[in-house]
Structure formats: C-alpha cells, structure tokens
Symmetry: C2
Subunit: 117 residues, 2 copies
C-alpha cells in the first residue's frame, strides 16, 4: 500500500488530511478504513497531538504489537507543527498511586524541533 510507503518514508506522524493531500485520488473513507485496519493489525500506531488532531505513524521493528507507542516519546514542534516519533527516546517508569494499574503510556513533548531551532 502507498499509505504505508508514505508513512515509512518519514518518522513523522501524519494526520489523515496530510495523507489525503499526498494522494489526492483516494477517498477519505477509504483512507480512514485503511488506517483503522493498519492500526488494528499493529502496523501503525495512532496518536493524538496537542491540538487534538489524530496522527498515524509506522510502527518500528521493535514496536511490540500490542503496546505500540508506549515505547517511545512523541514530540510536537510548535513552529512547524510536525510530530516526531522519537524512536530512541524511551519513556521512564512512572510510579502510580496505589490501586492504579497501568497498561499503556503516552508521552507527548511540546517544544521546538532540531530543524526549527
């Protein structure tokens, strides 16, 4: 699929509308369903950025099927508004209050990326 190709080319997490404009011939519903299926299949992971926009990124090789984005940090640049998957920035342990069990963590850092700074 071209969608996967496109996502593989970058380590950015792309929104559906960004993907739509890349291939303008594809219907948004088709894309929506493709992304949904990819996510269920554990091929891509979904993240919501600081503006509430849903974005998708390819899962890396070492991305455990079920846990996905719990493994790395996402970075949202406030200049270029791109969202990066910081593949090698791992998420530290977080101590939860008693009674709370964790099954997934999402860390979203906002700031300025290396190209914009």
């Amino acid at each position: 699929m071209k969608v996967l190709d496109e996502l593989s080319k970058t380590h950015l997490a792309l929104s559906q509308s960004e993907l739509e404009s890349t291939f303008r011939k594809v219907d948004r519903i088709t894309l929506y369903r493709a992304l949904r299926d990819f996510e269920e299949a554990g091929i891509v992971h979904k993240i919501v950025d600081m503006n509430g926009t849903t974005r998708f990124a390819i899962c890396s090789d070492d991305c455990p099927d079920a846990t996905h984005n719990e493994e790395h940090v996402h970075f949202n640049c406030q200049r270029c508004h791109k969202m990066f998957c910081l593949q090698h920035t791992h998420i530290p342990d977080i101590q939860l209050p008693p009674g709370f069990t964790h099954s997934g963590i999402n860390v979203l850092v906002q700031g300025v990326c290396n190209k914009c700074s």
Copy 2:
C-alpha cells in the same frame, strides 16, 4: 461560576458534553467560550484523552500559570473511562535528542483505576 464549582468538586477531567449534561440549561457555545476563557486565564487546563476527547480540569494551587498539566500525570481508566488528574504523580525528566528543546510535557497513562480494579 457553576462550571468552576463543578470542576472543583472532582479531580476528574471532564469533557464538554459531560459538563453540558450537568447543567442542561446552558448553551454549548456559552460553555465552550467559558472553558476557553478559563483556560486562557490559567484557571483550568485542557487535555485530550486517548480517544481524542478534549477534557478540562481545574488547576491546582501549585499549578504554574503557564505550564499547567506539565506538572502532573493524567490517568485514563479503560473501564469507567474517567480521566484522573494525578496531582501528586509528577512527570520525570525526559532526555530529548540534541536540537530539540522542550516547553511542555503531557503524560497520559492508560489502565485501570483504583475503584475499578
């Protein structure tokens, strides 16, 4: 304002529709504008949960005006779907790749809360 009262009563982060059903007489636009203004004034903070739903929570006393939710961890229970502000669970330092500067962090933990477990 009743909205602030309602948010103060709980440490949960409420969505706009949850707030709307609490006081059914209020127009959704009025509520929207109130929440927007409260957020700009640094009285409440806004967080997007794992489903992309925007939620609002009262800022605690020690919530620094500008940085808001960077101070504590948010917890999304996958049973009751409530979102908790874990006021006392602080966010650990995260080492970013060179060139990336951070101005805010958002940590969202998914799991089962103390009441549901």
